[in-house]
Amino acid sequence: MSSRHPTHIGTRGGDASVFEKKPPPGAAVAAKVSGLVLAPQRRGWWLGAFGLSALLSLLFFAAIGYLLMTGVGIWGINIPVAWGFAITNYVWWIGIGMAGTFISAALLLTRQKWRASINRSAETMTVFAVSISGLFPILHLGRPWFFYWLAPYPDIMNVWPQWRSALVWDFFAILAYLIVSLLFWYMGMLPDFAVIRDRARKRSQQIFYGLLALGWRGEVRHWQRFEMASRLLAGMAVPLVFSVHSMVGQDFAEGIVPGWHSTIFPPFFVAGALFSGFAMVLILVIPLRSVFGLHAFITSRHLNNMAKLLLATSLIVTYSYIMEVFMAWYSADPYEIAITQNRMSGAYAPVYWATIFCNVLVPQVLWFKRIRLNPMALFVVGIVVVIGMWLERLMLIVTSLYRDFLPSAWGMFYPTLWDWIFLFGPIGFFAMLFLLFIRFAPVASMFEIRKLSAEDKES
């Protein structure tokens, strides 16, 4: 049996008596993962983290309330920089949300066995990140309460969406992506909810997980359809991932603003999204693993593979940065050349160079196996990359807008306190949702790990 499967995990409490012999690995997986939900221990750190993130979430909601009453003027946006932190955050969050589905679906289709114990965290990350990202374009509308005008519905004002606009495509892309990720996530948890239901001893837990499990009983017929449905969903989710972020790239590329008007944008945005998403998976999985002692499920092999993916996407992003500069030069368009030079040496040059440092230089340490196998180092690299990707989105948006075609239209963007609240508040909200998830739902896909260990035993 290879090291990636649990071998030395004891069962919890009275369950051990059920087994006459040494508990088999399948039961050990169930005991460990469902034990985290049914008999949580070490509540102190959880309560502390939850309290902190709940406070940040509260601040975020208060800020949304204030924004609804006052308007987007509370942010530092103005003319010419009409897209500030809100759109930066939107692109950043949806990028983080890309990798979850990609990890889950693409690795399922390519039969990568190592996905089994991290796909759940990755999918959860996707669902929460995409939900948060969807808030930003709505809040950024002058009158957020009319956001439903983006939906086509027959009204007496004859207001229809403008179908030729990438912003309307975006609405459908986010909607589809959110619902499909939610379905994929929940459906994958059905058999695991059934395990928790069967192990629950408290009536309240039995009812709660019983309802969530929808009466799943592991019949072969059910499994057959479940596997078929998983594969079909995965097959649809992969093109969806690429199309959604391509459309985010189109939001920019459809404009004639120098620095945005580039055909490389859709693939460039997809690569950047996967890059930040993989980094975020590392940020989430590494603490999860050490806090819950999940080393038997999330092994160094997982971290190693994730680090390789991170390095690969970093190289793609690096190539895109080089291509952007090359295309500006090759196009011989004076505005493109000016904006590119301005990014490197203008008022926001530190943002540009910090982006290069975080996204291009730092990930190069992942060439070394020692770093890839060191969780602490990977965690730090993950954080640096996530910050770098946020800076890149900011750099793309602000540096293209603050220098327009006409010097008379130039202007600076300075973030206000509210901008910062809208940056950090959602991070707290995301952390709060994730903490609730690890408290109340199975953090690893039990049936898949069991399947792997059974297959291993055979061979």
Partner: protein
């Protein structure tokens, strides 16, 4: 047919490994049983073939759902942009079909995904919050590491005594009566 057995849902045998269950399923089919249900903690390859399950309509559901999603949004796009309220947007044709494709693609995927998930649940008869099997105290193990074979009492061949003797010949860990 044994009329007294009909009050039961069936007889269930418990096995330790997937291979034993696979063998038991094959034996039961050879013995002519039709109403065979097998329960495993994870998908086991080959079991569906042993049970004689055919691939069902799920991919077809996906196709229909996808087409419905794409066609309906395309219809809305066409109707709103060319019939109900045509706007001259920079001289572009009213029926700008190229620009109408991206929402159609997204809605095709959404429609197919909804059809697949709800199709799976409907074909599986879920949600079904109670099932006679849940009354068997050992059944909770099915979600973890035990493999169960249930011979349904509605099988025309089902005879409680014979079925019990047959299942015992397969040397299961234990036998359980499932009350209907």
């Amino acid at each position: 047919m044994n009329k007294t057995a009909i009050t039961h849902y069936g007889l269930m045998a418990e096995f330790e490994t997937a291979e034993l269950l696979l063998k038991a399923v094959r034996e039961s089919r050879l013995n002519g049983y039709q109403a065979i249900e097998a329960y495993t903690p994870f998908p086991v390859e080959g079991l569906d073939e042993a049970l004689g399950l055919r691939r069902d309509l799920l991919p077809f559901f996906a196709l229909v759902g996808g087409c419905l999603g794409a066609i309906s949004i395309y219809f809305v796009e066409y109707y709103s942009a060319t019939i109900n309220y045509p706007i001259n947007s920079g001289g572009r044709p009213y029926h700008s079909w190229l620009a109408f494709i991206p929402p159609a693609v997204e809605m095709a995927i959404l429609g197919a995904a909804l059809a697949v998930v709800f199709g799976m649940l409907i074909l599986n008869g879920l949600p079904k919050l109670h099932h006679p099997l849940f009354d068997v105290s050992q059944f909770e193990m099915a979600e973890r590491d035990r493999f169960f074979l249930c011979l349904g009492a509605h099988d025309p061949l089902f005879d409680e005594v014979r079925a019990r003797r047959f299942l015992e010949s397969l040397e299961p860990l234990s036998l359980h009566e499932v009350k209907g």
